[in-house]
Amino acid sequence: MAKVHVTTSVNGEETEYLCEPHETLLDVLRNNLQLTGTKEGCGSGDCGACSVTVDGRLTCSCLVLAVEAEGREIGTIEGVGDKEKLSVIQQKFLEHAALQCGICTPGLIVSTQAMLKDNPTPTEEDVRYYLAGNLCRCTGYDKIVRAVMDAAETLPSERGA
């Protein structure tokens, strides 16, 4: 089967790859582009470990075909924060010990960033429902919810600064 040539943008960088028509965006991110920060937990859109944004919209990359990325803007965990400094969300996850094994963490951080863009002042219930698609088996979610609430409170003052 002939491979398909795709031109897309990943974390703001123009990126080209060849992929099989059946391959998912997750496969290509991990295996072709070596962006292994995006994780596969289930391959069926149930766990959220592979969360990315496509044109700013939160998506499970295991449910998107790699060819569908043509002309889009893809955002992954590798694009969160900058070279010098962690983002507020990343920093709050560390301060609140909101991760144990860490496998769900990239997906949760990408989801949290997407949520706070849509809803900068979430209630605890908002957070719990928005992140209900990101499974974590280690923490019981308590410290994750606290980290996200703290990040939401901190971010406006950062923006104002």
Binding site: I77, A97, G102, R128
Partner: protein, 750 residues
Amino acid sequence: MSEAQDYKYIGQRTIRPDGFDKVTGRASYGADLSLPGMIWGKTLRSPHAHARITRLDTSKAEAMPGVLAVAVHSDFAAVSDEAIQAGEGSANLIDLASNILAKNKVLYHGHAVAAVAAKTEALAEQALALIEVEYEVLPPVMTALAAMAADAPVLHDDMFTTGLEETPDKASNIANRVEFKIGDVEAGFAEADVIVEGTYKTPTCHQGYIEPHACTVRYDEDGQSMIWCCTQGHFDVRTSTAKLLGMELSKLKVVASEIGGGFGGKTTVYQEPVALILSKKSGRPVKMVMDRDEVQLATGPTSASHNWVKIGARKDGTITAMQGKFIYEAGAFKGSPVMMGCMTAFTPYEVPNLYAEGFDVVVNKPKVAAYRAPGAPQGEFAAEMAVNELAAKLGMDPIELRLKNAAKEGTQTIYGPKFKRVGLVECLEAARDSEHYKAALAENQGRGVASGFWFNVGGQSSVVINMNPDGTGTIVEGSPDIGGSRASMQMMAAEELGIPLEKLKPIVADTEMLAYSQGTGGSRTTFATGMAVIEAAQDVVRQLKERAAALWNVTAEQVDYADGVAYNTAGEDKMTCAEICSKADRTGGQITGRGNINARGAGPSFAVHICDLEVDPETGKTDVIRYTAIQDAGKAIHPSYVEGQLQGGAVQGIGWALNEEYVYSPEGKLENMGFLDYRIPVASDLPMIDTVVIEVPNAFHPFGVRGVGESGIIPPLAAVGTAAANAIGTHVTELPLSPPRVLKLVQEKG
């Protein structure tokens, strides 16, 4: 002891040293390594629960372009009938080999039959379809009770029940019987005014780690073979794989990647030895990554159980006897944790007459693996439910009943030792005095409390601390870090060395860089590996004193060391750790501290949980509305990660109690693979999980650590079960309390 001491680092909420990599996606997990020339392995699995393999022909798959190797059971070296250390128990080598590639029978839906390595994952998948297997399908046995029936189909015709007075001459599905007792239960029941008894059932459920099993391996003829994998114990992966392939330990390096959850389920091998066979045959590095269905079909789970419990007490609440018969499913091969179930079920109580009998039974389900306090939640669920029934029957508060009979220092346990100082009474008092326990409940709401006991273990850990010429150091340990343990190691070493945390970098070394270390399990890492870290740090301090003494021309005894500074007690001199390290070349070479230990004296950790549950009588839906987890940590090295263990254990237990179960068809096919149908708790299912960390120090650990990983999964089963029973006004005897079962209980109540 540690209670009175002021520590600089112990007890602080520091930022974990591996945190940056984990929030940026840089941390490398089981599936994240690729090697030049690497090919992909895939596994063919049985569609049947129980069948004889009458024909297995891999020739068409081998002939397919792009396919480089095929592996079947006969590729294993001739292994002996030998037990090896695997995770929190032992495993028989023949069983292990027959589980990871079926020998002549398949024993569960999803049992691996063959594996293929091909240039791409897709080609490997296609090649699986070319493997020809013919099965003679046999009737499956899907529950322990069915498996114990006299006329049940037998899984292994060479399995004869052990642990009986006489070994039977007829093969059966009952692998083993165990028995523990103290006193005389019949006499104890005769003294009782009140007796409760009941049968309690728990389902098969999975550890549910988010990261599927994954490995990348490279076989080399020159003796440099390598396995990279996500495991709780890479030294045990080395032992198992080397035995299965007939290799010497020094010819196999196992590297523990970062691990995306394990909970006991990553203490054994599945794909690793198979991948190494494929690599040997193909001459190429091989990567194998399970998909979620494979994880559910062929790894984990924990034992379903069927347990009968009887308790007798006097009118004043004094328990006179406790008795139980515990039947645990082992899955396809012997080795359920029923012995641990017998040892733990009644251990939160000081009772003179105890009797526990356990049966290890094989069924056509995947071979069980350890799951957080393996064996304890099932048995303690039965005992704790019965204790709550007893409290109701006596008209006593369930915490007061527990306090009246609580195990404490000097209590004789059913499994042998008498307790040293333990913190159950402190946990119960904290529960009784909590605001939560006094809070009012509304209509359709109920409250449940339960205790949990787990031994915790010690064992072998090896640690070296290499000091650098600038005074920084590397802590080299061998316990895979699943939940932040590197932070604890860093804190304990910094405390001993008196130098800032950031001067010390903890790493998990591969099997070539360090002597054998037992895996991360049994809540042992902060306790046992922590003791090895402390010993290695003390070894560094001893050498720092010697080096300073040499520079000052005094004896080492004349040097004091405190807060990272050496003092000459015979003069005015002082030197920092960094200054001594910078002059190490002049005093005999660089400094390495070593702590290779076999830790004894693990301290039991008791837990007490309170659960408030609301039941919707129209739909059977339940909501946990308030939850408090109380547990004795001995000493919380890093309080946030200790709280995290309590919260995570509580939520796994809530999932076990409310939703999680393997659903099989009558033919024995698993019907609810995947996270949509096997539903673990999500954020919107839960409230905050309040924690109370009790610190009754363990005298055997320099800082008082007990270990906190496991006890927290035990109480939720009976706390949630009792809360549901109280909300509905009925009795609960079976988990999970999924909406259909709850609705049925509501309707039966009328």
